[in-house]
Each structure stands twice: as structure tokens, then as C-alpha cells.
């Protein structure tokens, strides 16, 4: 009878632990999805990316990478001075991107109409005007396959440009002040520049349905930890000791100046043209300072690669790992305790929950480039343990 009661209790305990581990694993996957879709970056995203990048560099696998389909146009040396006022009182002059040169370039592009897409990471801010504005804005409005930058907390100089604009913003927090996390649909479900390019070129978009996001009929994420495989470390890449290949071209000095010998139409043919300031518009990323325009094109690249889709395969792998960890945690077991050999026990002693998750994340990153969130599972395991320990203490005190 005693034996039967013991077996029954063992079975009951096993069922509770099994159900608990299953619920905890599903909870972690769901929490990672919902929290990950917000614009707020998690504290581990930047660190994970940086660790993995060092690992890849150390193994000699990462280099400067710019696909041939992309033409980077640097406007850092194409500036003009315009009058500037604060509260309608003139205060002096302000430096902006040379709108005359932009007009010249876009007019040629419009006439050629052979580019794949133009992403102009230049903001035409309200209250900053130049004599070329009306012609420039009219050209932008009549162009196909073009997107210009807009910001959540600012206004465009011409409201008619709104149709051609999309957001070029990301969020940082008090804890994470550097870029690591990109959200595709922002404020009021408005698209960002990468999503707009994806919509126009791939004919697909991201749509919200309750707390879920879908793309092309598949469950997807609205925000991802953004890997930056498209990167430009230097102005030039050294092909041979005497030949340097330009990584980006200057709008005035390279593209417009040589139009008569090397026509703009030839330079643009079938290219995704990225216009931005690659010198001063830089943001802190896991690679160090990177131009904002390159962050946007990497986000588009992620969409193109399908990185935003919810990977069911990885979700199953994650579920199994979370389940094992959860079951061990609920049984108050450790990997070390299960090892018969002392050396194996010592080895497994270092296998804490975050270190197991780090190894899994590293495998995921190296094999598929998928960046997987470790902060949420680690936090939830810690929360479970905290609640459980508090409950046990309270129970013991009551006794």
C-alpha cells in the first residue's frame, strides 16, 4: 500500500513537472515573440551580436561585403548653406545636402528609369528651404520606385512628399543606447524605409492581426535583432597593391562630374541606389559606427532573406531546449549532479542556463544567421526560480 502511494505520488509529481515544463517553454517562446515585436531593444541583443561577430572575425569568415546590385552614393561632400530661422526669427545659416545636385541626379535617374530602386536617406525637414525645392519635390513625386526618409517626431517640408516617404527610425532605451533592433512597422503601423522597398520590389508586406504579424500568409515578426552582413569598413577596398576599388561613389565628384564620359544612366542600370551621408550620419552598432543608410539596406536584406518569418523549425528546437532546462529546474536537478564521472561533473558544472542558451544561440547564428533572444528565457527562468524560492520560504516559515 505504501509502495503504491509512493508510486502514485511520484507519477503525480512527474505529471506536474512535465506540464509545468511544457507551459514554461511555450510561455518563453510566446513572450519572446510578443516582446520581440516591440520597438524596444532587449539588453542582450547588442552583446550577442558583438560576441558572434568577434567569433566570425576570429574564424576569418567575415569581410567587407557589398553586393554588386547596390550602388552607394555618398553625399557627405555635397553640401549647401541655407538661411535658417528659429520661431520665424533669422538666426543664420544651416548646412544641408546640396539640393541642386540631388535634383540633377534625380532628373537623370527619372529620364533613364532603369534603376531598380532609389532609397534616399535624406530628410527634407519642415522650415528648411532652398531655391531648388519646388523642382526637386516635383521630380520626387513623379518618380517610381523611390522612397525618402521621414521621422516619427518631425514634419516633412512638403506634405505631398508623404506618399513617397517612410520612416527611418529606431528606438533605444535607458539600458540599450546602441542600435541592434529594427522594427518594420512603426507608429500607427506605418512602414519603415526597408519595408517600403520590400513592398515595392517583392510585392509583399507585413500586416498586423491582433497581437500577431503576418507576411505573405505566414506568421512573421515585426522586429528583429538586425545582423549587418552588408558592411563597408573603408572608403576603398584594396584589390592589388596599386588598385583600390571604390566602395561608394560621391554624388558630385564621381557621379555628376563624369556624366559626359560615364553617363549616369549606365551607373544606375539595375541598381538599388542608396543615397546617404556615409561620413556623418553614423550610428553605434555592434560593428562600431555604421551609416544609417547601411542599417536600412541591411534591414531590407533581412526581409529579402526571410529573416522576419517565424521559424517553426527553430521554435521546435527552442521548445525542446527550454523543456529540458525547465524540467531540470523544476526537479531541482543539475546536469553536473547527473554525471557519474567526477571530471564530467566538473565540466557540466560550468553549464549554467545562460551558457547553454549562448551555445545554442551560437549554433543557430553560425548555421542559419538567425539571432536568437537569450534575455527573455534567462529572465523567465530566473523569475520562476525567484517565485518558487519565495513560496518555499513562506511555506517553511508557516510550518
Amino acid at each position: 500500500m505504501t509502495k503504491f502511494t509512493f508510486l502514485l505520488s511520484l507519477r503525480r509529481h512527474f505529471t506536474i513537472k512535465l506540464c509545468g515544463a511544457i507551459l514554461l517553454s511555450i510561455g518563453i517562446i510566446a513572450a519572446s515573440y510578443f516582446i520581440g515585436n516591440s520597438d524596444i531593444p532587449m539588453p542582450d541583443e547588442m552583446k550577442v551580436l558583438r560576441t558572434f561577430d568577434r567569433f566570425m572575425k576570429f574564424s576569418g569568415q567575415y569581410e567587407d561585403n557589398l553586393p554588386d546590385s547596390i550602388l552607394l552614393v555618398n553625399v557627405c561632400y555635397d553640401k549647401q548653406l541655407v538661411d535658417y530661422s528659429v520661431h520665424d526669427i533669422p538666426v543664420g545659416q544651416f548646412v544641408i545636402t546640396d539640393r541642386e545636385k540631388l535634383l540633377q541626379f534625380l532628373t537623370a535617374a527619372y529620364e533613364a528609369d532603369n534603376y531598380r530602386y532609389i532609397m534616399m536617406d535624406v530628410f527634407f525637414e519642415h522650415n528648411i528651404e532652398s531655391p531648388q525645392d519646388s523642382a526637386l519635390f516635383a521630380t520626387i513625386r513623379k518618380m517610381n520606385r523611390i522612397v525618402i526618409a521621414n521621422h516619427v517626431d518631425s514634419h516633412l517640408s512638403d506634405t505631398l512628399l508623404k506618399k513617397k516617404s517612410a520612416y527611418a527610425d529606431y528606438t533605444v532605451s535607458w539600458k540599450v543606447t546602441k542600435f541592434a533592433h529594427f522594427q518594420f512597422l512603426r507608429e500607427g503601423n506605418e512602414p519603415t524605409m526597408p519595408l517600403r522597398i520590400y513592398e515595392d520590389l517583392a510585392g509583399k508586406t507585413i500586416k498586423k492581426w491582433g497581437p500577431f504579424y503576418f507576411s505573405d500568409g505566414r506568421l512573421c515578426k515585426n522586429a528583429i535583432t538586425l545582423n549587418l552582413p552588408i558592411r563597408v569598413e573603408d572608403d576603398y577596398s584594396l584589390e592589388t597593391p596599386n588598385i583600390l576599388e571604390k566602395r561608394y561613389e560621391f554624388l558630385g565628384a564621381d557621379i555628376l562630374a563624369h556624366d559626359s564620359i560615364y553617363p549616369i544612366s549606365m551607373q544606375l542600370e539595375d541598381k538599388i541606389v542608396i543615397i546617404g551621408d556615409f561620413m556623418t550620419d553614423v550610428h553605434d552598432t555592434y560593428l562600431g559606427p555604421q551609416p544609417g543608410s547601411l542599417i536600412c539596406i541591411n534591414a531590407y536584406h533581412a526581409l529579402q532573406q526571410g529573416d522576419h518569418y517565424f521559424h517553426w523549425g527553430w521554435a521546435i528546437v527552442q521548445f525542446i531546449i527550454y523543456f529540458i532546462i525547465g524540467y531540470f529546474l523544476m526537479s531541482r536537478l543539475t546536469f553536473a549532479r547527473m554525471m557519474p564521472n567526477i571530471f564530467l561533473r566538473m565540466l557540466f558544472f560550468i553549464f549554467s542556463v545562460p551558457s547553454i542558451l549562448l551555445v545554442v544561440a551560437l549554433i543557430a547564428y553560425v548555421t542559419t544567421g538567425y539571432v536568437y533572444n537569450m534575455y527573455i528565457p534567462t529572465f523567465l527562468y530566473w523569475l520562476y526560480q525567484f517565485i518558487y524560492n519565495t513560496y518555499r520560504k513562506a511555506k517553511m516559515n508557516a510550518k
Binding site: 568577434r54 572575425k57 576570429f58 554588386d68 572608403d235 576603398y236 584594396l238 584589390e239 597593391p241 596599386n242 588598385i243 583600390l244 576599388e245 571604390k246 561613389e249 564621381d254 562630374a257 563624369h258 564620359i261 560615364y262 549606365m266 551607373q267 542600370e269
Partner: protein
């Protein structure tokens, strides 16, 4: 028949190698004295990767901007040979950050120069007559090494003689308008000066130099 096949094979191979060759169109040059295949370079002219570029002797910083007509990518052909700057394992894992305004990035400067120079200096030196520090870093003519020290209330900066990877520190460093100063323990700061863009790069500070008085020889 066999000869015909051989000729056809050679002809095909020749055509194939022509197809593989990169062709360039000159967009800009900063020197019209440069020769490509024996002819003076001209904007709009074309050449291929088999062409011989002859740079004018004694003239530094000659460059040709051209476009590769196959890849549609612009490139620069430069007279000075450059080295690929590959990072060591230690440089991947660690990085040196500068907090001073000297640390401004200088476009076009080989970034390995300040790194290598920085490693060359020790903390302490003694100057009896002439001190030669081997750095193995050959400085281009646009760069010079400046030593700065404080003497009384004055802060004195002087360029150092560099020759074939060696830096020479002698008593001329402590001579102002022909008048010799008599410092004893000097703390030196080294900066790299780029005269082309008028910019300084901090190399190393707090280098102790004990100047042994001449009477003690």
C-alpha cells in the same frame, strides 16, 4: 585537320582571355605625365588590366580614377603601393580608444602607422648624445613625428628626424633659436603630423627621457 583544330583552340582561348580581361575607362587623373602603354593618359581613354602604367619618377601621389566597364565599379590606380591592413587576433579582441582631440580619423592615412609607432616607444630613455629608436615604420613624406615637452612654463614642440624606420632624438631637440636648454628629466609626448591635411594624431605620452648633462661625458 589537326592543325585546324589547334588553330581553332588557340583562337578560342585567345578570345576567351580577351573576354576575361577587365577594361577600364579613365575618368580623372591628377597628373597628365602618367603613361599607359607608352601613351600619355587622357580622360576618356580606355585600357585593360594587361596595360602597363608608367608613373612619373620622383612625383608622389599620382592617381588615375577609372571605371571598370565590365563591373561598372569605379576604382583608383595609385602610384604608391599599399598594403592590406589585416587585423591580428589580439586586435580583433581588443581595441585602443583615444579620448583626446588628436585622435581624429585621418582619411587616407595608413592606420597601421600610429599603431606600430605606439608599440615602438618604451617608457624610459636616457639621452647622452644621440638616441636612435628602431621602429621599422617608414613614414611617407607627408607625415612627420613631433615631440613635445614642457620646459619651465613653455611647451615646446619639435619635429624629429626620421630615417629608414629609425627615429633620431638628439640634443637639437633641446635647442631653441640656437640656445641650448639644460633640461634633466623630460616627459615627452609624441604626435604624428600630417602636413597634407594639417592634422595631428596622438602616438604616445609620458615617455620619460633623462638628459645626461654634457659635462658628465
Amino acid at each position: 585537320m589537326k592543325i585546324h583544330s589547334l588553330i581553332l583552340l588557340i583562337f578560342t582561348f585567345f578570345n576567351f582571355s580577351i573576354l576575361l580581361a577587365d577594361d577600364y575607362k579613365v575618368l580623372f587623373t591628377n597628373s597628365n605625365d602618367v603613361l599607359i602603354d607608352g601613351k600619355k593618359v587622357q580622360v576618356g581613354a580606355t585600357f585593360n588590366d594587361k596595360s602597363v602604367i608608367t608613373w612619373t619618377k620622383g612625383v608622389e601621389r599620382q592617381a588615375i580614377k577609372a571605371v571598370n566597364t565590365k563591373t561598372n565599379k569605379m576604382c583608383l590606380f595609385v602610384s604608391q603601393s599599399m598594403e592590406k591592413n589585416s587585423l591580428t587576433a589580439l586586435e580583433i579582441l581588443t581595441a585602443n580608444k583615444h579620448l583626446s582631440t588628436h585622435a581624429a580619423y585621418q582619411e587616407g592615412m595608413d592606420i597601421s602607422i600610429p599603431i606600430k609607432l605606439r608599440k615602438s616607444f618604451e617608457e624610459n630613455y636616457e639621452l647622452l648624445d644621440t638616441l636612435i629608436i628602431d621602429t621599422n615604420v617608414k613614414l611617407p613624406s607627408s607625415l612627420s613625428l613631433i615631440a613635445t615637452y614642457t620646459y619651465g612654463d613653455a611647451r615646446i614642440s619639435k619635429p624629429l628626424k626620421t630615417d629608414n624606420g629609425q627615429i633620431v632624438i638628439d640634443r637639437k631637440l633641446f635647442s631653441i633659436d640656437g640656445k641650448a636648454l639644460q633640461p634633466r628629466d623630460v616627459t615627452l609626448t609624441f604626435d604624428l603630423y600630417n602636413k597634407d591635411i594639417d592634422m595631428y594624431t596622438f602616438i604616445k605620452g609620458d615617455v620619460q627621457l633623462m638628459v645626461i648633462p654634457e659635462t658628465a661625458k
